[in-house]
Amino acid sequence: MTSREPSRWYQDAVMYEVLVRGFYDSNGDGIGDLPGLTSKLDYLNWLGVDCIWLLPVFASPLRDGGYDISDFYAIHPDYGTVEDFRELIEAAHARGIRVISDLVMNHTSDLHPWFQEARSSPTSPKRDWYLWSDTNSRYRQARVIFVDTETSNWTWDEVAGAYYWHRFFRHQPDLNYDNPEVQEAMLDVIRYWLGMGLDGLRLDAVPYLFEREGTNCENLPETHQYLKRVRAVVDAEFPDRVLLAEANQWPRDVRAYYGEGDECQMCFHFPLMPRMFMALRQEQRYPITEILADTPAIPDGCQWGLFLRNHDELTLEMVTDTERDYMYAEFAADPRMKLNLGIRRRLAPLLGNGRRQMELFIALLLSLPGTPILYYGDEIGMGDNVYVRDRDGVRTPMQWNADRCGGFSRADFAQLYLPPLMDPVYGYQACNVEQQQRSESSLLQWVRRFVRVRQAHPVFGRGDFTIVEVNNPSVFAFVRSSADEEVLCVNNLSRFAQPASLALPAYSGRSPVELVGRVPFPKIGRSPYPLTLGPHGFYWLRLEPGS
């Protein structure tokens, strides 16, 4: 136990999601690896990232991008060794960068020795580590999540002579958390990795740990009980680490995963992201303000995780059917872009490669209440490949320079885990880190600058959030405020220039100063404050005491 006050570093952080497989290949085998990532930490440090989030690197047959773990204590040989992992953490910490990693709690690969042992005999000591049934009719109220590939949550296993339960792919049997041995085994896994210095865990697919007949088998009280236990163990043994829950639900339902501040410190805010795209397309703020109004307050020390795009499809589970049709029509013109209930595209192609739109979205990501999580490659406006399977289209190699394989690998082109993009707009010859580092006006330099501005103002990470009333529905304005400072953020969601009149009665007499250039704006008076915004323009204005 420690008496030290937790620093809550995750509230101030700018996070960066890395696909190790796609970031940098150090040994020329065509696959990105941990030493490769370690060698690129200086780049991430230059960009200003505080924390990297690793997609799964554990031993796995890789039938689901590593979310099918076959040994919780081993690193997949493609990525390196446990020693490489330890070195990555040390090298990151030396630069002041924290590291968190995915951990799949809900299920294992069907190749995991636990499952192999379990299926071998009804009397196996591991039998009860998974869920078996003679019929496929239990838990009927649980929906099938991967509707494009699975038709049932039960699959018949010839070896076991029974059906086994899986909420995701059939090669990912669910662990049976009713078994205390499973609970203990997973706590040991957590202890092992945090003990190595990992700064936190993103708990994958967390709502599905327990099953109960007559329920939809999501968000059950038993699941929360277990998460509280995980948190208590982490707090007691590894202070100041973060647990980040992946619960793709409505914010009011996700709220439960914060507990009373005694479950996960962070949860993703899933519905915000598709609504930002809707707001942009409809040129009005309501899709965003509506979901924010419907987002409950969270306990002290907790934080939403915000992202524009991630390694999965742009998920549309958290929109209504009408909204989903709308999103498909607007952002997935090619049917190949659709996947499950979502759209598999990166940020830049979703925004038609519009620089102003990307800047506006990143500015929103950095200024809305929560911790921003950038997805690797989006900082240079990388594209996607809709012709490769599943979600691989948004997982192509990072584009470092205009050399062979985009500087990602020295391997033969044919050996790469996925071909890099080569089209004239998003291809590595046009769009890469080196070229954008050389150009002062590049998107990369812009992102770096705004990451810094955000970090210089802790109010973005920890401040209150208040919507400001504006007479123009295309303009979305809010104030982030703390005891130390207040920042007014004004965003134009329209592709046309817009005037705006802001009701700021509480800030009458204040002098707004633009955060990036320190340009003083006219003082706020008693009447509504007038501003003019360029197409997709935005302002961050610090409200300083009037002179």
């Binding site: 309501y286 303000t289 109004a293 709308y326 009665p505």
Partner: protein, 499 residues
């Protein structure tokens, strides 16, 4: 010692000079010939008195209209909000600056005291329910709302709206009645009523104000419709070449549009149906209760339309030619509707429903302003009407939205207008259809309408024609550049079977 208003020479003459400059003053063309106080309620004492004044305003016609004024007698002449109407000294050599401050925060704070002091004075304030005056102030401050047509409003603590009626009509006001009834039955798509204020003087009561929830972060339907139309037409303008696009292409563009208003039109249709069900329900307690449309009701729709039409046919305006050509058709629709045997129900309606009376905020859409047409006396506004009257208002408003957007993009005479205007028409057509179909999807709503589909359409068409004729008269008088908008509506409405 107090302040006597007649000791301030020429005060009311100055007020009479000041009144016509106020947006909410509804008799600009008719007066005032004089202004005099009918009743005075002092709400703040010396040294800084404030008074609520029920003022009689003389009109050219020899009649009198009553208005509510909030007068502030500032001894220091401090440079506060509001123009000075009168400045000078009284016989005691005290200096005063007089301003009108009805919707200013300080005046509302003063009203609280007046409400608490009860009915001791000859003129006094009656607040319903008792204690609702506590909403008139908040630690979080208050602000007067911007330009308004016929009222002055105060936002208190960003949570409460106090709407002061400028025109002093005998209580109860239709708006207080309807908003309170809808609040009572729990109808969600309004700003719920928290209370109302009446001024009682000499045995007469006038409705001073309505206290209701403030809908923060809201935008008028008309503005959101314009946002959608701007999105539709903004890029087309670049390619407009004066060619007339085929209607299917326009319709497709509207249906595939990113900034679509379609979900909003559907939702508004659905909510308008729900509003009518709530207004028609006995639980609302509204008087008079809903009834069947009688032959006199459809006849009066016919007669109102015919009178409008005949008046318009007298107007010497060459651009009215399309109306003259179709006068017989208009008469035919009105006469047919005037003899409908089964025209559905008549209920208390919103009375002045259009896109400017609905707002969207983070909780969805809401109906505002249940006053009806504020220039008409309350008794008239309280009359039962076919719910299709509100529907006609909204349908017309959707067409106005498209026409307004077009006028913003191009001058109607420009060649580009020929390319753009079919898109605007398609937009209006799609939205009107969506609104109408969503409106009567609920069987309860359908039961309020004429049972035969063709009767439904006929009655709606007649009511829309009436609305067009009303608009046309208004545009001739106030915005002659816009008379094409209602004219096009009339042309379309008499062309058989078209939407």
């Amino acid at each position: 010692m107090t302040l006597e208003l007649d000791q301030l020479p020429q005060l009311f003459a100055e007020i009479a000079r000041w009144l016509p400059g106020q947006r909410w003053f509804g008799h600009k063309a008719e007066g005032p010939t004089f202004v005099r106080p009918r009743a005075i309620l002092w709400v703040s004492p010396l040294p800084h008195p404030r008074a609520l004044v029920l003022a009689e305003v003389g009109l050219d016609s020899g009649t009198v209209a009553a208005y509510h004024l909030g007068l502030d007698f500032d001894p220091a002449g401090s440079p506060e909000a509001g123009d000075v109407i009168w400045e000078g000294t009284d016989p005691q050599e005290r200096r005063w600056s007089v301003r009108e401050v009805l919707s200013q925060p300080a005046f509302s704070r003063a009203l609280i005291g007046a409400a608490r002091s009860g009915s001791a004075e000859a003129a006094h304030l009656v607040v319903t329910p008792a204690g609702a005056e506590e909403h008139l102030t908040s630690a979080d401050g208050a602000r007067a709302l911007g330009l308004e047509q016929s009222n002055s409003s105060l936002v208190v603590g960003e949570r409460v709206l106090v709407k002061f009626y400028r025109r002093a009509w005998p209580a109860p006001s239709p708006e207080v009645e309807l908003t309170s009834a809808l609040t009572r039955v729990g109808f969600p798509a309004i700003a719920p009523a928290l209370g109302s204020m009446e001024l009682e003087a000499g045995g007469d009561r006038t409705t001073l104000g309505l206290i209701q929830r403030y809908l923060a972060n809201s935008t008028e339907g008309m503005v959101l419709a314009q946002t959608s139309l701007r999105d539709l037409e903004g890029d087309l303008l670049m390619e407009a070449d004066g060619d007339v696009p085929p209607p299917e292409r326009c319709r497709r563009a509207v249906l595939q549009q990113g900034g679509s208003f379609l979900p909003a039109a559907r939702e508004l249709g659905h909510l308008t149906g729900a509003l009518h069900l709530a207004l028609a329900s006995p639980a609302s307690g509204l008087k008079p209760p809903a009834a069947e449309m009688e032959s006199s009701d459809v006849q009066s729709i016919r007669d109102r339309g015919l009178q409008h039409l005949e008046r318009l046919l007298q107007v010497r305006e060459p651009r009215l030619e399309p109306l003259r050509v179709r006068a017989a058709d208009v008469r035919r629709v009105l006469v047919e509707a005037g003899s409908l045997p089964r025209a559905g129900s008549k209920i208390r309606v919103h009375g002045d429903l259009h896109l400017g009376q609905v707002v969207r905020n983070d909780e969805g859409w809401h109906f505002l302003d249940f006053e009806g047409r504020p220039s008409e006396p309350p008794a008239l506004r309280r009359q039962l009407a076919s719910p299709l009257r509100d529907v006609a208002g909204m349908l017309r408003s959707l067409e106005y939205a498209a026409a307004l957007a077009l006028r913003q993009q191009v001058h109607p005479d420009e060649a580009n207008a020929r390319t753009l205007s079919p898109y605007g028409l398609a937009w209006a057509e799609v939205m009107r259809e969506a609104f109408w179909l969503a409106y009567w999807r609920d069987p309860g709503v359908l039961a309020l309408l004429p049972p035969a589909p063709e009767d439904r359409e006929l009655l709606l068409r007649a009511l829309e024609l009436n609305q067009c004729l009303y608009e046309l008269e208004y545009e001739i008088n106030f915005r002659p550049d816009w008379i094409e908008i209602p004219l096009e509506g009339i042309v379309r409405l008499v062309a058989a079977g078209s939407w």
